[in-house]
Amino acid sequence: MKLFFFKLNCTLVLSVLVTSISAQQVNQGELHGNFQLDAQYYNIDSLIGAPVVKEKILTNGFMNLWYTKGNFSGGIRYENYLNVMQGFDPRYKGSGIPFRFASYKNDNLEATVGNFYEQFGGGLILRAYEERGLGYDNAFDGIRIRLQPTKGIYLKGLIARQRTFFSLSSGIIRAFDAEFNLTEMVNKPDAKTIVILGGSAVSRFQRDEDPIYNLPENVAAFAGRLTINRGKFNIQAEYGYKYNDPNATNKFIYHPGQALSVTSTFSSKGFGILLSAKRLDNFDFRSDRTAAGIGANVNFLPALTRQHTYNLPATIYPYATQPNGEMGFQAELSYRLKKGSKLGGKYGTEITVNFSGTNGIVKNKVDNDTLGYSSPFFQASNQMFFRDFHVEIHRKLNAKWKATIMYLNWVYNKDVVQGLSGFGTIFADMGVVDVAYKINSKHTVRLETQVLISKQDMGSWGMGLVEYTFAPKWFVAIVDQYNYGNPDPIKQIHYFTLNTGYTNNGNRIMLQYGRQREGIFCVGGVCRSVPASNGFSISVTSSF
């Protein structure tokens, strides 16, 4: 009996212990993260102009590991490039932990030390962000505080340097942002009109080590923004000014920079309109005045055009912002023909019409050539950079079939956009037909045909895709792109790829074999030129 009680006691003690440990475990916070590995084996293929890869195999990989417990969070990211894949910046070399942070947050204060991303307003004078798929990461490394002193007021301040690949750029960034939601401040949550005002200041310090020029060591930029929302209407405007900032992009002139963007929208059920206009003049802002290409960008200047998803319009001639000067506009109309109406059919039909265009700005000579030029604010030059007009119609025909058709008409100034000469301006018409047939609730076949018709540059392209999906886990696809209209018959090449992928909850594996066309791949506002390649690639992602 004694023995029994002893056993019981032991068991109880153990049980209590286990309970308390497990209870503690529950409160121990959460460890979570994500992982990605991309690897490619490169074949030699001189026909498509694929660069010879000595290593034969190249890989990019990273893992984020974050820990959260109540108000505290912290984390690291390990990155590995052995060696960096084709099309990424070669300054990604080797491996390391370029991202680590710790952060404390309560209802009205958040303090972060180490690495962080940040955006003021639309990012006109400050945005740090990452697009891992493009190899873009301009994270800050420093200290940031976010404060909400009272309802409707949001303050942010930071002091930091910026990541450039595996090092930090030489400038120091000091920045402050304030946003006032006037509607919340006057405590009228039911007010029909919402007014939000914001303002920010960013200053860069970088030592002047130039033996000849007297370069400003402190460069300041200011921006103000306004959002007004009333019912279905919304208007957003943002203006930025940057003091003289001679840098590599503007060829070291002392001309101040200016930027303005205005967007208004109307949205009601089944109907939406967007009108947008933008002007940029000498607005490239970096934490290192000598930086060129991608790297050390402090601000974010996205293109004012539709971001396409179909392969040919998305990757052959995508527009990229010209920070030294451009003026653009965009109009988009989205409309849904009602379900059951004569035109809309049983399931309704969605129509999108979009027109966008960008020209250069007028640059008049000035006597003082350190200022570079003068430019009338409301005047665009005659030089056309880009035009995109397109119509897209999506309709579900019945329970089995659905289809998207699209027509696009483009003008693309290749010399200006890609910084080349001798290519001139390219005119292209494009068409897309995308049809999906649902065999049953889990199996679907999708066919996609695209064509780009042009007499210039590489001439015309065709593309065909067959995709078979077995929900929710598998897909197989065959894609062929064919440059049938290339003026050089040897370059009338088929780019054939075979793809397959498997997804299970937060994990995904994708395999691809075949030829990859040289192209420009964009996500968000950034584009990356990818050289042609031929080979086998694998991508593994996991989120946990």
């Binding site: 497990s22 990012g123 949205s267 939406g272 988009e332 929900a471 995904r508």
Partner: protein, 172 residues
């Protein structure tokens, strides 16, 4: 008999804790924007004890749009049967963020839509690429996630939503 009862008593808390530790975690607290520009915190997401679907999408992401369009067709039915709420988080950056409201209207979607223009919420949930779907139970814990979308995947999603609505655990 006593022995096995004791063994169970010993095991119970372990099992319980294992279940509690089954990868579920609360919705992280991140500031995002409503489509009319207000700032809200993601930890305030609420559906009165009913399940929530959080879906990360973008106007340029074709499978995302296919997924939200397909769910839209059955959304009314889902709400009626389970009380589920879909929260669609647009990760469009400032290039497209202003487009989200007219885009959603043009599609006729009735979801709660928010904008995460610098991917703060996306990062807090460790999303690699959109679309990514999270399932939240009645206690506001994340209990399931899925990356990508294939036609018909919403069927599996809805099976899980029904289990949650009935208070059953997910065994995936």
């Amino acid at each position: 008999m006593i022995k096995s009862a004791l063994f169970l008593a010993l095991l119970m808390p372990v099992l319980l804790s294992a279940q509690l530790l089954d990868n579920s975690r609360p919705i992280p607290s991140v500031e995002i924007k409503t489509l009319d520009g207000k700032t809200i915190n993601t930890s305030t997401f609420e559906n009165g004890g009913k399940p929530i679907i959080i879906n990360f999408w973008a106007t340029w992401c074709k499978p995302c749009i296919a997924e939200l369009t397909n769910i839209d067709e059955v959304y009314e039915e889902w709400i009626k049967e389970t009380g589920v709420k879909v929260i669609a988080i647009s990760i469009d950056d400032s290039r497209n963020a202003t487009k989200v409201a007219p885009f959603v209207s043009g599609k006729g979607w009735t979801y709660e839509v928010y904008s995460d223009p610098n991917s703060d919420f996306k990062r807090a949930l460790n999303v690699n690429n959109p679309p990514q779907t999270f399932l939240i139970n009645g206690n506001k814990e994340i209990v399931w996630q899925h990356n990508g979308y294939q036609e018909g995947s919403e069927v599996e999603l809805y099976e899980l939503v029904k289990k949650l609505a009935e208070g059953k655990p997910l065994n995936h």
